[in-house]
């Protein structure tokens, strides 16, 4: 199961949009939940007149059987006090549907980084102990950086460390609950700030792709790096993210 956390810059959600749009995933269901602000619109992944009039709501599930992939997309913010009920319901669904592993795409406030985190890659991962056993080695090979823990009481006691994901929404809650429930979960996150987060979304899905190989990444001849950016398909709903066109009367 691949899903986003509603987090800073909505990077996880944008990433999921790219995955669903590029892989042409089919909608298989939705969550009828009181934990998210209601919203509805027409199909955000429409490519033509024929498929543009299907209604879409705030929490929907898509699947791609060929890759045994199920994706949950969340499209609106959480209602106050509803984080925990949502996480509990979600994780019990994960268990009851015998989902093998869960990957959460998320983000964290870039301004909260410490001196070391300011250097190098802004991408991080986390694995629950059950998943660590299975793929920990792969993470080493990919040279990925694990999310650092921070001091629980900075300035007073530097030895006690806790996981802190500012701006991550339900990420930390999902992760800690999964650890205690023995669920195989990975969190992939990027440090970012609010703004035009499309490049952040591309960075995050490319990161995901290094592991899951969802799409083929072309080796770029100019700088020898694998960069799949051009292979991801932007959904039609990303039009006009920053407002309408300018009225000619302005000039």
């Amino acid at each position: 199961l691949l899903q986003p956390a509603v987090s800073v810059g909505n990077v996880g959600q944008l990433g999921i949009d790219l995955v669903i749009s590029t892989l042409g995933m089919t909608k298989v269901g939705y969550f009828y939940t009181d934990c998210l602000v209601p919203m509805v619109g027409n199909n955000p992944y429409a490519t033509a007149e024929e498929n543009s009039v299907e209604l879409s709501i705030n929490a929907e599930v898509y699947s791609l059987p060929s890759k045994k992939l199920v994706v949950l997309q969340i499209r609106s913010p959480f209602i106050k006090n509803k984080y925990r009920p949502f996480c509990e319901t979600l994780l019990s669904w994960v268990k009851s549907s015998k989902c093998a592993r869960v990957i959460v795409l998320s983000s964290s406030h870039a301004y909260q980084r410490d001196d070391e985190q300011l250097l190098g890659t802004p991408l991080r991962y986390l694995l629950t102990p059950d998943l660590e056993k299975a793929v920990g080695g792969l993470m080493q090979e990919l040279k990925w950086k694990e999310m650092e823990k921070v001091a629980a009481y900075p300035g007073i006691n530097e030895t006690e460390k806790v996981l802190h994901i500012p701006g991550g929404g339900i990420t930390k809650l999902l992760f800690t609950e999964s650890c205690s429930k023995g669920i195989q979960m990975a969190v992939l996150l990027k440090f970012c700030s609010e703004g035009d987060n499309i490049p952040d979304a591309f960075a995050l899905v490319n990161y995901l792709n290094e592991w899951l190989q969802l799409i083929k990444s072309e080796v770029s001849t100019s700088n020898d790096s694998t960069d799949a950016s051009s292979q991801w398909k932007i959904p039609s709903s990303w039009r006009l993210l920053f407002g309408n066109g300018l009225p000619p009367a302005l000039f």
């Binding site: 509603v6 987090s7 800073v8 810059g9 909505n10 009181d34 602000v37 209601p38 919203m39 509805v40 619109g41 027409n42 199909n43 955000p44 429409a46 543009s52 009039v53 299907e54 209604l55 709501i57 705030n58 609106s76 913010p77 959480f78 209602i79 106050k80 006090n81 509803k82 984080y83 925990r84 406030h109 301004y111 994901i165 500012p166 701006g167 991550g168 929404g169 339900i170 930390k172 809650l173 700030s193 609010e194 039609s236 709903s237 990303w238 039009r239 006009l240 993210l241 407002g243 309408n244 066109g245 300018l246 009225p247 000619p248 009367a249």
Partner: protein, 215 residues
């Protein structure tokens, strides 16, 4: 984050998240306060029975309903008042009582157009046609409850629901200028079960509807 002048401010995030608050453990006092607030924010749907007495809707059987028209927001409610409702053909059959930071409705059915209210009317000549005028704002955390309590009272087989609502033109996303849009500017969303003709074009991506009309 630091602003241009060097002061540090906490920037609101689109994610709408305040995870510090969520992480804090609830004390018994917090729990009590939260429960009190929840009780205060509960919605009551009161139906007027044939005898004229008001009562809670809970245990009654769902009543037959073929068409349910819901007008959400002052403009839509005013539209119904001006063009549809009158005391000859329609009778008041219910009211929603709620409170939130923006408005409070009461259980009285005698309202002024400037009040916040949520009333149900029934067509006298065909009692399966129901109409709801909801000029009050139903808060995010109350929307689901409103939905369950109102629709919980009606039979859903063969039910056709029409929702009337308005949004500011400034929220409409389009490549063209909003100054040249035709008036009245109508857009629709429909479920695939709705087979009749829609009287106006469908809402194009990336526009969305939120809050109670969406619920």
């Amino acid at each position: 984050m630091a602003t241009f002048f060097g002061e540090v401010v906490v920037a609101p995030s689109r994610a709408g998240v305040d995870d510090e608050e969520e992480a804090r453990e609830e004390t018994p006092e917090d729990r009590e306060i939260r429960r009190e607030l929840e009780r205060k924010r509960e919605i009551d749907v009161l139906w007027t029975l044939k005898s004229g007495a008001s009562t809670e809707s809970s245990a009654d059987e769902p009543f037959a309903c073929s068409k349910f028209i819901v007008a959400i927001g002052r403009n839509a409610a005013a539209f119904l008042s001006s063009f549809i409702l009158d005391s000859v053909c329609w009778e008041v059959v219910g009211v929603v009582k709620l409170w939130n930071e923006w408005c409070r409705t009461s259980s009285t059915t005698n309202v002024l157009p400037t009040d916040s209210f949520c009333l149900f009317y029934r067509l006298i000549s065909d009692p399966t046609v129901l109409l709801c005028q909801c000029s009050c704002y139903v808060a995010e955390d109350q929307q689901f409850q409103w939905l369950e309590k109102v629709f919980g009272c009606m039979q859903k087989e063969g039910l056709q629901v029409t929702i009337l609502s308005t949004c500011p033109v400034a929220d409409y996303k389009t490549q063209e200028s909003t100054l040249t849009l035709p008036s009245p500017f109508l857009k629709a969303l429909k479920t695939k079960e709705f087979k009749e003709e829609v009287c106006c074009p469908l809402l194009e991506q990336p526009n969305i509807v939120r809050d109670l009309p969406a619920a």
